[in-house]
């Protein structure tokens, strides 16, 4: 669609919701402005969730396509909405990888199953944690995927327990226990910073 055909389609619009509305109607300028504002943040979150750059970039691109082809209802900030899509897509990717991996293992004799729900092995040790320069991905890589999700949604996006329960499709009690556990692990790992 021709961006010029959408009235008000320019990067000078300050409101994200308005940019999203214009972009969904074919405003390429509005879409680019949104990407400029949130593209790096989304990549950082996606990388922190999935742990590799190629998957993170795929996740962000898919998220942007999904955002343009669906309707933003304005129930949260645009950035939070986009992060929710990233979190959802990352979970789908993880499940599909796990399934593929399971199928591969079923065909391999004597292979050691890799548990995708474990924290990544490359995480900082407790001793090195205070020495390394901490970024978001370094902090979250010490957690399981479910705990990473909950920390992103609560600590970065400020979602309520009920909103997270709805987003993740789990009871509120599960949200609370995951959050407490995730915080407990982070406190233990990074106590030198607290």
């Amino acid at each position: 669609m021709d961006a010029a055909g959408v009235p008000g389609d320019n990067a000078n619009v300050h409101d994200d919701a308005e940019l999203m509305r214009l972009a969904s109607r074919g405003g390429e300028g509005a879409f680019r402005a949104l990407v400029d504002r949130h593209g790096r943040y989304l990549t950082g979150v996606a990388f922190s969730l999935c742990g590799n750059a190629a998957d993170a970039e795929d996740l962000v691109q898919e998220t942007l396509v999904a955002a343009l082809t669906s309707t933003f209802r304005g129930e949260s900030k645009v950035r939070t909405w986009l992060v929710q899509i990233v979190v959802r897509r990352a979970a789908l990717l993880r499940r599909s990888r796990k399934r593929q991996h399971g199928e591969t293992l079923a065909n391999a004799v004597g292979a050691t199953p890799a548990d995708d729900n474990r924290p990544r092995a490359s995480g900082p040790t407790a001793a090195s944690a205070t020495d390394a320069k901490l970024d978001l991905a370094r902090m979250l890589e010490t957690l399981t995927p479910e705990h990473r999700q909950i920390i992103v949604l609560r600590e970065l996006e400020g979602m309520s327990y009920d909103e997270m329960a709805a987003e993740l499709g789990v009871p509120r009690g599960t949200v609370e226990s995951r959050l407490h556990r995730a915080r407990g692990m982070l406190k233990e790992k990074f106590k030198g910073y607290l």
């Binding site: 309520s160 609370e176 990074f190």
Partner: protein, 161 residues
């Protein structure tokens, strides 16, 4: 000694409590050292996470590729519209065809007088083959395959005599 109100401290920190519960937790924290320490840790952890820089990979974001998502999404939307239009056209065609089929009167059987005698001389399968489609409508309604099968059986019986 640990206190069993940790869940309430988390909920307080996350702004999940109503005013009376909030006041109760504040009063409790003022006199409970473990809960006060937990609340301080939670605040500190939240600050650490909020201030943590994005990983270096974020700086290398392929913005050009992200811009390309726009054309991908618009292409997908257009394909969806074309697909929907195709389905609606097909559905409309089916409805029109069904309506015309029900509304059409039976075709007149104005055949020449000698035609019946000539037909009698032909085997039944040839009669079916040369009969105009319009004249077969009545039989179709009764089940075309069943009728043709019956004719073939009759024809074979005649030929066998």
């Amino acid at each position: 000694m640990p206190c069993n109100r940790a869940a309430q401290i988390h909920a307080y920190h996350d702004g999940e409590l109503a005013a009376p519960e909030r006041a109760a937790v504040e009063a409790h924290v003022a006199s409970c050292e473990p809960c006060a320490a937990l609340l301080a840790e939670l605040r500190s952890l939240s600050r650490l996470l909020a201030e943590a820089p994005l990983p270096a990979e974020a700086e290398a974001s392929p913005m050009g590729r992200y811009y390309g998502a726009f054309h991908k999404a618009m292409g997908r939307q257009q394909r969806d519209v074309v697909r929907l239009t195709g389905w609606l056209t097909a559905a409309a065609a089916v409805v029109i065809a069904a309506t015309l089929f029900r509304a059409a009167p039976p075709a007149p059987r104005d055949r020449p007088a000698g035609a019946a005698a000539a037909d009698a001389a032909l085997p039944i399968w040839q009669q079916v083959a040369v009969t105009p489609a319009a004249e077969q409508e009545g039989e179709r309604a009764n089940g075309e395959l069943v009728v043709v099968a019956q004719w073939m059986a009759d024809d074979l019986a005649v030929g066998g005599r």
